[in-house]
Amino acid sequence: MHVRAKSTAAVASTSDLKKKSNGCSSSTTSSLANGITPQTSIYTTGLSRLREHYTTSIQEDIMITSYRHHHKARKQVPEGVRVELKGNKHLKPAPRPSSPNEVPELVKIDVHCMMKEAITSKYYLLSGVMAIQSITGQTPEIIFAKKGVHNWKLRKGMPIGCRVTLKGDKMYQFLDKLVEVVLPRMKEWPGLPEGSGDGTGNIGMGFPPSALSLFPEIESNFDMYPRMTGFDITFNTTAYTNLEARLLMSGFNMPFQKSNHSRKAATAAAAQRAPE
């Protein structure tokens, strides 16, 4: 498993749901003089439904909702100065003043899968890698352990998981599938927690192994995957706060739980506005 899976293999095994309007050439570095088209210059001309939804429907609303007329400037730490915070805290990037050029946007989605069975035999990972490739349409890279854990018999350098980073059209397609097909089918899933977010505008969520069978690509040939594995997803956005990140993801129909407290606050605010 020391060889990274070739990207051409991913092209061969993408699902039917993906719109493949671009021709697939494999050479990446050949010069144009040879008459070989470089892979990077090929664009998909197909429509990206959720990207259009973002630009036409929700981008302006997000800009208006997250607008602050007076910017609350945090204490700026000058560059090069090392600041040590207590505990495991780390410095967070300071939010910028509201601007039409800096509306919170979804940048990338990371799909990551760690399989504990790979400790006993690395070939257990194959199923996870194939499953993630089927779901996302992109070959994941294999993750090797950074350091060993004696209790779990994990050694440094062992292949233990896989990860794929989705950007652009592929990202929107994956999110579309997630929100339209997989999440509605999940049993007794109330939505993401109300306070979810890592503090810097990214939201993460995890899936049990049963969720893998809900994806159409895997549902159709369920028998071919030896092992069903859980995985986690991280939505990386350009938002600076949890609120903005949640606002953005809710615009893509990602459901969030509403606690009783916030429901009461919403109704109270509505009641206050009504008589006026």
Binding site: S26, G35, T37, Y67, R68, H69, L126, T139, N253
Partner: protein
Amino acid sequence: MSSPFIRSAVTAKTALMRAAGRPGMKKGGSTSLNGDARNDLIKKVLFDAPARPPVRLSSEDMARHETIERAWKLVRQQHKQEQAAGLARKFEMMRKANAELEATSPLLFKHSQTKERNAVFPRQLRTLTDTPPKQIWNYREATKA
């Protein structure tokens, strides 16, 4: 081996295993990779698939290809510029409105700046589609709220 998700090699399709090129399957012998022949096929697909030959174009075709790419880039650039200009216009109007409100009434301005915490788009938000949904209007849900 208590997990319901582990399937033995016995349940896997034999034809597909032959496609994996395992000589052992014909004789019915056990295979490597955890004794699961499906792993062999997966390994082949992921790591051993032959690279596709590069697409070679003549110089004329290359020129056509480059022209098309440039034209599409230009179209996308124009769309992005239009969008950005629209956003900037709306933002400027909003900024002016806020400034005017602040000058007019500090109390109203303060109320306008306090936002509802955890504001999210409604769950009923409908993303744009080419065709209408199977159920156009849900009367029960609408009359509930």
